[in-house]
């Protein structure tokens, strides 16, 4: 990585994202420092996944300023791509290919050495099933592979949309050092469970109907009010 900037990893100011005439996100502003975890909270349809996708450069901001890893979105999106690890609802794996083939594919796209693939397969504990087609794997295994995919290029920023959903405690333990707080990476985490989410977060952002209603300490009581 070229620059180790002392400034924030993410800077968002007045972000707006519309869906036609409706506002999917409006007036979102926050900052995230290196090594910190930002928890995104809010009811369904609040715009959490939308915000995550904007930060991942998958959606462009319609108004406002967004800087991710020093790159101004959307004009400099290409700078941020390849430095962000995204674990969304979709595992982004081809069902007909094996876990290993999928990871090799993504490794090539990100210009990462193939050795890293085996490293990560071992790290997520998938050595035995890595050569089976993804469609034969259980949800938990697919999720583990998805995390491996997101980590292939050793990204300085992780964007996680409920990464532990559908995982048993054993799998969770396996992934925690890689994508959880112990990993030490800068993370944005979407969580439906207020308690576990706030335990993981250094700072919390509350959304409702696209509007930012809370930014600051991850206080469970405060955040639960979003759901009323």
């Amino acid at each position: 990585m070229a620059e180790q900037s002392a400034t924030a990893v993410i800077e968002v100011e007045g972000l707006e994202r519309r869906y036609g005439e409706r506002a999917a996100l409006s007036g979102v502003s926050f900052q995230l420092g290196e090594g910190q975890t930002l928890g995104l909270f809010g009811p369904n349809g609040a715009g959490k996944s939308t915000l995550l996708r904007v930060l991942a450069t998958l959606l462009r901001p319609h108004a406002g300023g967004v800087r991710v890893l020093g790159a101004q979105l959307p004009d400099e999106s290409w700078k941020a791509r390849g430095r962000v690890g995204y674990v969304g609802h979709d595992p982004l794996l081809y069902r007909e290919l094996s876990g290993r083939e999928n990871l090799v594919f993504h490794a090539r796209l990100h210009r990462v050495d193939e050795a890293r693939v085996d490293e990560l397969i071992a790290a997520v504990g998938m050595q035995r099933r890595a050569r089976d087609p993804v469609r034969e794997l259980s949800r938990g295994m697919v999720q583990r592979l998805s995390a491996a995919r997101a980590l292939l290029h050793d990204p300085p920023l992780l964007l996680l949309d409920e990464p532990y959903s559908g995982l048993d405690p054993a799998a969770r333990e396996l992934l925690d050092p890689l994508i959880g707080k112990p990993s030490g990476r800068t993370r944005v985490l979407v969580s439906h469970d207020v308690d576990s989410g706030t335990a993981e977060s250094d700072v919390a952002l509350g959304l409702r109907a696209g509007k930012q209603l809370h930014f600051g300490t991850p206080d469970p009581a405060e955040l639960r009010r979003l759901f009323q």
Partner: protein, 252 residues
Amino acid sequence: MYGKGLRPLSIASAAALGTAIGLVFFYAPLDADQGFIQKIFYIHVPLAIVTLGGFIAGGLMGIKYLRTGDRSWDMRSYVAIHLSIVLAVAVLITGAIWAKASWGHWWVWDEPTLVSFLIIFLLYCCYQPLRFSIEDPDRQARYAAVFAIIAGAFVPLNFVAVRLAQSFSHPRVLSTTGGNMPGSMRLTFYVSLLAIALLYVTLWKLELTSKNASIQLKRLRVRLEGVLEEQHSAAGAPAPPVGTVPASPRDS
């Protein structure tokens, strides 16, 4: 903003149309072979030219939209294409009438312009279904612009291809005096062309103004709903709906 110039434009169109009709019926010479029905040429060919111009303009406006992201260009492109599709139907119908009157058949494959038109018409018929089956409004506009550009590039290519397919032994069926038009015909033709072009632009502007008005109305509705909801949730009750909120360029 859009309505500006609509009145003088309408007046100019009406005047040009009136003049054209007068010229067609009273001034232009009667064709020896085809008789009175030949005068349909004065509608058919100008319509064809204006329609094609409309399609290509739609493509150019699509390019403008993709470059600027300004939705008004998308609206302009949509209306241009939409109008041209309607005119294309008229081109095909007038072409068929002319063919029937001259050759006894409702359709002639040997007339390359008509055949090209049929293909282009079939292509552009997909524009609206494609457009309106995409839910996300921004994506809809973008994909529509891409279509407009592809189809616009296709128009000249298609004409070349169909022309080439006509062997030289087949004469142009729906031609008039083999390209050397006497002065009176030429004048009538150009006036008709002008009249139809003006009519097209007037209708285009008219539809744009109307659509713009309904979009403003919808925006106001959405804002009003937002305000009402805030007031009512402060009071603790759900807001009453302000009619249904319809979707993008469809409403007018």
